[in-house]
Symmetry: D2
Subunit: 144 residues, 4 copies
Amino acid sequence: MSAPTTASPAFSTFETRLDVRPDDIDMNRHVHNSRYLDYVLAARYDQMERCYRMSMADFLDRGFSWVVKVAHIEHKRPLEMGDSVVVRTRVEALHPRGVRVEFEIVKASDEKLSAKGWFEYVMVHADTGRPALIPEDIAAKYAV
Amino acid sequence: MSAPTTASPAFSTFETRLDVRPDDIDMNRHVHNSRYLDYVLAARYDQMERCYRMSMADFLDRGFSWVVKVAHIEHKRPLEMGDSVVVRTRVEALHPRGVRVEFEIVKASDEKLSAKGWFEYVMVHADTGRPALIPEDIAAKYAV
Amino acid sequence: MSAPTTASPAFSTFETRLDVRPDDIDMNRHVHNSRYLDYVLAARYDQMERCYRMSMADFLDRGFSWVVKVAHIEHKRPLEMGDSVVVRTRVEALHPRGVRVEFEIVKASDEKLSAKGWFEYVMVHADTGRPALIPEDIAAKYAV
Amino acid sequence: MSAPTTASPAFSTFETRLDVRPDDIDMNRHVHNSRYLDYVLAARYDQMERCYRMSMADFLDRGFSWVVKVAHIEHKRPLEMGDSVVVRTRVEALHPRGVRVEFEIVKASDEKLSAKGWFEYVMVHADTGRPALIPEDIAAKYAV
């Protein structure tokens, strides 16, 4: 269901396939704008476990969590009921306290771009919500 | 924003007003079926705190939580973007381990019935999720 | 992805697999009650097209639509982030103006029952929303 | 429920109050990231009708609709169950084919900033989805 598809010098791109659900559709019969962010979050959860070998549960076990600081999305083509999408994400930059992730959402049937953008996540201590330094072994896992 | 509106011999009816949000609307330009359940859950949260004087946070502090066992809903008239609703709920029966709550959702503008139904909740120990006996003081709060 | 799994004398059971998404999870770290209904609606859309050979778009083209009149759901075991589910539905009864559909949602990993229930749908004229008689050729498609 | 709160030289700021709903809450017991966009969209719908005197229905009647091209959001403080928010929006720039809207979401109880950002909308012909020139009378309504 996923494999590196394009390789930047530093970071791999991973992908996750998702099907549009009825409740995603809005009054214009398109996927509602807010749902695209959830598609990306769903893809990251999937890829954290499957591609980076460290699931959100693993992060929580170590006392860490990820928090979205900034989300930026550009819409290109609407999605409709019955569509499936492929969500590709790539770590663009790894900072001491966070990570910037680029994404693109393409329609599965024709590979046409539906939306693209980026997220900035910061790592926090799960109990306090305060920013944390990303441990070296975790940084190494993300440097694939 | 709310007061008992009709009194059964045993239990009061409370009400909460909510506005339809864009993401509630489905491809038929009506509120999506699944959202009605969230309207009722939102109303119960509001009423637990405001009308029964015991919020969900209070329950959690005592080590208890409520879990939905059964939900039943009958749709009468669709809701649309721009509508506000009044959600009325009433404890219909109080059992040693749970409570049955009736609800109706009416359009705020004309009081016409949009949906009605009932929920069965059971009380559980928040840490284990296992069923709990409802303590007498909590049962007393619900017997208004 | 789907095939008749058990056969009643009259009607087939079809199934659809879905993955839990982050936004489905509620404050108890379980899938929110209202999302189960969307899982069933998603499964029916999928099965209308794939198993009954008449998609919602086909219905709309003929001037018809389906409306949920009653939904009834019993929760057995919670679902969590990372779970996949199989939604099985079966036409239980076909009436001149509607259909009753039974469903069960099981966890994909262990086949344990998470929820079960039924929906009553009525067919309507898409332009007016008024009840329609189900044409014989459509009834025949549902009698598989 | 709303009035201009701060005035830029050119454009007014309007506000809409919303209550967090149970289904908005995610596994971290905070409002899920994707819901903030829906809060802003809900506020704009409300303000289009109430503050700009031209509802989305009015736009559709004239054959126009608005489409989100870009959304950008920065998260400052999480929101929780029981919170109410005030969503303030302001037209920042009016272009021949679109509008840029700034927003901020503050917690109603203490006015602390939860999130801020901006949306770029383009006007489209509702039937074709193709970009449209904003008619002068509509531009005038937005220039308040």
